[in-house]
Symmetry: C2
């Protein structure tokens, strides 16, 4: 079949798109591959963007990992920058394309949609204000860096989920006063309630002011800027606002082309990342992906999943036969020097699906108490009636990454809580505890 | 049966003994439990002792976790300190006991041997020299602390295995000149050769002088001290020597009583920690323990295994029915701010047992390259012909603890290398890499 695939077009050049191009060129070296990107850059880092605000990452350039030249030479891929796809004609297998005023059409034998996600716009904090920033792309963070100061200012961050917390702690680290708003009572939606409490305490202790705003706060406008926000009955002067109220799949193009769209707004794909049109594949934030524990298709905008999905979509678009395995959500978050993780499903999901579960939680020391540098670690597991692990959360130091990954492997391998005893985990005073939180949780659950 | 067990005696009060006492008192609250300890302390930390030399642990007292009073009140256990068991009369079920000049006999219904291990003495570096220290117990480290200075001195550490490296790096951290000797060409016997090289490089870079001494070096004696050692053709002045050439099971008492002893000198026990005498159990460094991958009985002097074995021995001595699961070796070591781990079996074991294996190794970044604080991580896996993991080694930062534990869980659960792909490991720039070393090793092995 490969010889029938002469033209592969990929729409989107940030995460899933470049992965698809790389894999397609390896799978089918004779195909003509074109990658179309609406912005100025391809192969960019997104997760690293908050750390430009703390200057841990020095310049946006560092987050651009590819160029049209490198993609042509390494992946036999022609890159079209600042080029927009207006529509897909599935019958003719052509795309209507625009670059500035120039419009033309492009043929494809196989198409990969990697159109990513877009901001959920908060109407109160409109991006029309000059000091309100929505930041997800390199272009957007360049705009922020050019049009704001990040030293000794007051920043308001709207939305205390993942990105909001990252922006807040980075601006705090850089020496700004930070006010973090959320409609929820605690930051970190999706984390275990106990961990959300620990996130709030850690933010507060480090000087980030978290404010629960169940209703829209009142804003005071001064010209083309928001100058003050009324919070807790007081008017607070602010210099800038970052809105991080989430993203939604950017699936408009697919929807207009009549492709099947899932309940969460993402393009529906099968386990080969094929859409409802056998000539069109999709990957990354524009899709919905099968979750391993519940079997549901969920919207999970994560770089690693975009990469893996992109690889499968690219390989299969080029005539290969690869599979995307159901995913396990497994995320980590720095909170002012501490770390929180979340693996598998959360309690609200289990409740909404009427899946019975029990919980076990514990707090212990990261190292034996006599060693300097030890600190507390909190852990919580969600366990199915047959003992299988369905979810976990940890809060502590860097060790939580390993704990989260152990649980991810346990979920993937169907390891039950009773099998998580007697693990022969390593112990050395300078690195790991005499009995780690996973052993403690497993023993506690057995009682 | 429990009501027939009235007197439980435990010989040894450091690691396995206290674990046995705790478990026995829970299992059989009516039994009269006696724990006999030859030294001054019970329930002590051993792994933490090197960090007294770097002052990370402030005082030996911090490593004494129990007292006769606390054991009487918490575990219904009478503790006899500075008391020696001279012999066991298995027919009469009595012990011949000495405290100072007082000799008496003690009856038992069930006996637990937790006599630990003892130093392998290097005849060249005799403990008779006033500046030569053998350090494994609190009493020994107290003696060292009283009789040496650990600031600006020259220390020679003999033996560059686990404890030797820990002593060397702690003395180095405290500001001493450290010369580390070993008969092997590289430090860290049992670690992968690549990791041994990295250990050597790291020690050297940090100022620890590692010297390969295939033959006994010449020593110069001044009165009751060793004053110089001839190394690399030069006479080096030294202030003190720590000998860390390993330990052997302290199984003399069991041997004299006619209990079965294994090929490595440890007391032979079954999976209930029962010796060849059904009234006698044993646990900790004085025993040999079943290793999961090869099924062999090995000598594995580790605190976590002493604890687990002690729990099982104590429970069963008290009339319980608990099992000790075959162990997976999983150890970690700090080397001047870096960490090395070793999990499962090593290549020389596989070679000596004629077990076929293949290896895969890789080097990657601990974090995405743009993040500050990233560093290299090396990893190597030993894989059976059916894909099962048999061994692993990592060298890098604190993240290697999690990697080692993931592999330990994989070994325990029979997870094959091909199942170690698509793990959904967490990624966040401040904590974990975009693709971690385990994913990389699994993909490399698949090729």
């Amino acid at each position: 079949m490969k010889h029938l695939i002469k033209k592969i077009v990929i729409i989107g050049g940030r995460a899933a798109g470049p992965a698809a191009a790389a894999k397609a060129s390896r799978e089918n070296p004779d195909a003509e591959i074109t990658m179309i990107e609406a912005g100025k850059y391809i192969s960019t880092g997104t997760c690293e963007i908050p750390y430009l605000l703390s200057s841990e990452v020095k310049s946006p350039e560092e987050l651009v990992f590819g160029t049209p030249e490198s993609f042509l030479s390494h992946y036999n891929t022609k890159v079209l920058l600042e080029t927009k796809v207006v529509s897909i004609n599935r019958r003719l297998r052509t795309l209507q394309v625009e670059k500035g005023d120039v419009k033309y059409s492009l043929e494809y034998d196989r198409l990969v949609l990697a159109t990513g996600s877009k901001h959920r716009i908060d109407p109160l904090f409109s991006p029309a204000f000059k000091n309100v920033f929505y930041v997800k792309t390199i272009e957007e963070v360049e705009h922020l860096l050019l049009n704001s100061s990040r030293a000794g200012k007051t920043w308001c961050v709207v939305g205390a989920s993942f990105a909001g917390i990252e922006f807040a702690e980075s601006l705090n680290k850089a020496g700004n006063k930070v006010i973090l708003l959320d409609r929820e009572e605690l930051p970190g939606k999706g984390f275990a309630p106990e961990i959300r409490q620990l996130i709030k305490e850690t933010l507060t202790k480090n000087g980030v002011e978290f404010i629960h705003t169940p209703l829209d706060p009142r804003i005071i406008i001064d010209g083309d800027k928001i100058s003050k926000i009324k919070l807790d009955g007081f008017l607070k002067e602010i210099d800038n606002v970052i809105v991080a109220t989430g993203v939604v799949p950017n699936s408009e193009l697919a929807r207009l082309a009549g492709l099947e769209i899932g309940a969460n707004g993402g393009i529906r794909v099968d386990n080969k990342m094929k859409t409802s049109d056998p000539y069109i594949f999709a990957a990354g934030d524009c899709t919905e992906i099968k979750e391993r524990i519940t079997g549901r298709h969920i919207f999970l905008p994560q770089a690693t999943i975009a990469r893996d999905g992109g690889h499968v979509a690219g390989a299969n678009a080029a005539g290969g036969n690869e599979f995307m395995y159901p995913v396990i959500k497994n995320v980590a978050l720095r909170v002012c020097g501490s770390f929180a993780t979340r693996t598998g499903v959360c309690e609200s999901t289990l409740k909404s699906l009427n899946i019975p579960y029990k919980t076990v939680s514990a707090k212990t020391d990261a190292l034996v108490k006599v060693m300097p540098g030890t600190h507390k670690v909190f852990g919580k597991l969600l366990i199915a009636s047959d003992g299988k692990i369905m979810g976990a959360g940890f809060f502590g130091g860097t060790e939580v990454s390993g704990y989260a990954d152990i649980i991810a492997l346990a979920i993937k391998s169907g390891i039950k809580i009773q099998d998580l005893k007697n693990n022969c985990f390593n112990y050395t005073p300078t690195l790991s505890p005499f009995k780690n939180i996973i052993e403690i949780l497993a023993h506690k659950a057995a009682k």
